[in-house]
């Protein structure tokens, strides 16, 4: 089977374009989710999108629009909970995750008649995506790329340390909420192609693979996008050859790429750098030997290493 033969079918051209766009979008958002260590938030968002789409089917409304509203609401609820909840973020997110999952399965049971469309949202089917789905995916991909290009320095600072970013005058809270909204938009846009249950793997796996290899954030975005597209096209190719579900094979391809990146990661093999590796040696350690005199001279006169009672010191 050649690529040209594949491209002769209309549905296959749509599928190739959809996997390309979903691969790029999911993996770019994945870089933010992985580096900020907010993977669980993304899982919650994907389940909220799935629940929203199911509600849309039940009410006879456009599932994508209702899913979008649900994810934006989830982002609005998750942000403050992750920020200043009275429980630990893990606990708060665990509660929201199980709630969205519970709502989704409740709504699934309420869908009247055959549940094919509803289950399609759960597993996705890239071979059935239409022009509208591709336009939505392209719009979301373009929006995310433009936003990343415009606010790269702010995003980089927030990813490194949110508190320090805020203290230095970066609108860190707005950037964080922007990331949550982008994560929600990506999930909604990929629902039909990848499915609500599997989309999150396509967000995490390529980015986690790129994390093993990239030396800076910019290159991590490119490597992650490349892995995302390769996973999409690889899964699609296998799905065509083996006549198996495309969504599941796309995720398995991304998982294989992740394990490949872990196996060949140079970061895994190298040890943390030594403190004095590139610098002139200090007076304490000269020529690879300890210089006790220098150490004693350098030590403050009053320095005794015993702990002292601080509460006693406070007494006037």
């Amino acid at each position: 089977m050649t690529v040209l033969e594949l491209l002769q079918d209309d549905f296959m051209r749509h599928a190739i374009l959809a996997t390309f766009l979903a691969g790029v979008t999911c993996s770019c958002v994945g870089v933010l989710v992985v580096t900020m260590r907010i993977s669980f938030i993304g899982v919650c968002m994907s389940h909220a999108a799935f629940a929203g789409a199911l509600l849309g089917i039940i009410l006879g409304l456009n599932p994508t629009v209702v899913a979008l509203i649900f994810t934006l609401l989830a982002a609005a609820a998750l942000g403050p909970l992750a920020d200043r909840g009275n429980f630990s973020p893990d606990t708060s997110l665990g509660i929201i995750f199980s709630s969205t999952l519970g709502i989704a399965f409740l709504l699934l049971s309420l869908v009247p008649g055959p549940k094919t469309e509803a289950l399609g949202l759960l597993w996705g089917n890239v071979l059935t995506v239409g022009k509208i789905d591709i336009i939505i995916l392209a719009a979301v991909a373009l929006a995310i790329i433009v936003l990343l290009r415009l606010f790269f320095k702010e995003v980089q600072t927030v990813v490194f340390n949110r508190e320090m970013a805020l203290a230095s005058g970066i609108p860190a809270t707005a950037v964080f909420y922007g990331i949550l909204i982008c994560s929600g938009l990506t999930t909604v846009a990929s629902l039909n192609a990848i499915g609500g249950l599997l989309v999150f793997s396509l967000i995490i796996n390529p980015a986690a693979a790129a994390y093993q290899i990239a030396s800076d954030l910019r290159s991590m975005f490119f490597i992650s996008a490349l892995f995302g597209v390769l996973s999409g096209w690889g899964g699609l190719w296998l799905s065509y050859l083996l006549n198996l579900p495309s969504g599941a094979l796309i995720i398995l391809c991304s998982t294989l790429l992740f394990f490949g990146a872990v196996a060949f990661s140079s970061k895994k093999r190298s040890w943390p750098a030594k403190a004095v590796s590139d610098e002139p040696r200090s007076e304490i350690c000269q020529g690879g030997k300890l210089n006790p005199e220098a150490g004693l001279q350098g030590k403050p006169e009053n320095d005794s290493r015993q702990p002292c009672s601080k509460s006693a010191l406070m007494e006037e």
Binding site: A167, G169, D216, K267, P300, K310
Partner: protein, 243 residues
């Protein structure tokens, strides 16, 4: 002394954390150009004090002025451009794809504003800070893989790249070995003098405060309970150590 002569002016503030009061009727004045240390045991509210100065912790009552700017929705953006923060700890994965040079450059981003790109002035400020802290050779290395002392110097360089008027340091020698501590102490003093900064260090490290600060305030349970000059402070600590 008029209010404008103080770089940091805190008047009778109260703050709470998860409903529990941390600072109560707390006041502090730091004149321009002073290197002030605040000493106290863990949990006494030292880190909260630093966060109040940065507007990261809201104040229930009282007044906070930084370089004459009142801590408010309007004033906070000016305040954050004038102040630089060295946090107590920064949990960075050693595979995080950020180099030390990029970390220092991040100090410029708040000043640059949205949509602006890194210019020659920003690059020069970051290079100056890297040179001053002696970490220029680390610029291309992954930040997460540096040693504790190297990381701390890079974070101080990031703060200096911001070209602040006030430097706020929260336990800057936390978890450093003795040699790194010694080096950071002398660097803090050097940076303070050369850049003519107002510096506030909160710590429970007696040597750090006695070796670097002009004046040391003693804090307990959210209150300032006294002030010492470094020799008095050292003498007091030595007495406690020998008793």
């Amino acid at each position: 002394m008029g209010n404008d002569a103080y770089s940091i002016l805190i008047k009778d503030i109260c703050t709470a954390y998860h409903g529990l009061p941390v600072l109560e009727s707390f006041s502090l004045q730091v004149p321009e150009g002073e290197l002030l240390g605040v000493f106290g045991p863990n949990g006494t509210g030292k880190s909260t004090l630093i966060k109040v100065c940065l507007g990261l912790v809201p104040v229930a009552s009282g007044e906070v002025r930084i370089s004459g700017y009142r801590m408010s929705r309007e004033g906070i953006s000016f305040i954050r451009k004038l102040t630089a923060y060295v946090p107590q700890s920064f949990d960075v994965d050693r595979r995080m794809p950020v180099t030390a040079g990029e970390v220092v450059m991040m100090g410029r981003f708040g000043r640059m504003g949205l949509f602006n790109r890194i210019g020659p002035g920003d690059q020069a400020a970051a290079d100056d800070a890297l040179n001053m802290l002696g970490v220029k050779h680390l610029a291309g290395r992954t930040f997460g893989r540096l040693s504790g002392g190297e990381k701390q110097r890079v974070i101080v360089a990031r703060a200096l790249a911001q070209e602040p008027k006030i430097l706020l340091m929260d336990e800057p020698t936390n978890s450093l070995d003795w040699e790194s501590k010694k080096r950071i102490c002398s660097l803090i003093r050097e940076v303070h003098v050369e850049r003519k900064l107002t510096t506030l260090i909160v710590s429970h490290d007696i040597d750090l405060l006695a070796d670097t600060c002009d004046r040391i305030m003693l804090m307990e349970r959210g209150h300032i309970i006294g002030a010492r000059d470094p020799s008095e402070f050292r003498h007091c600590c030595r007495g406690q150590r020998h008793s």
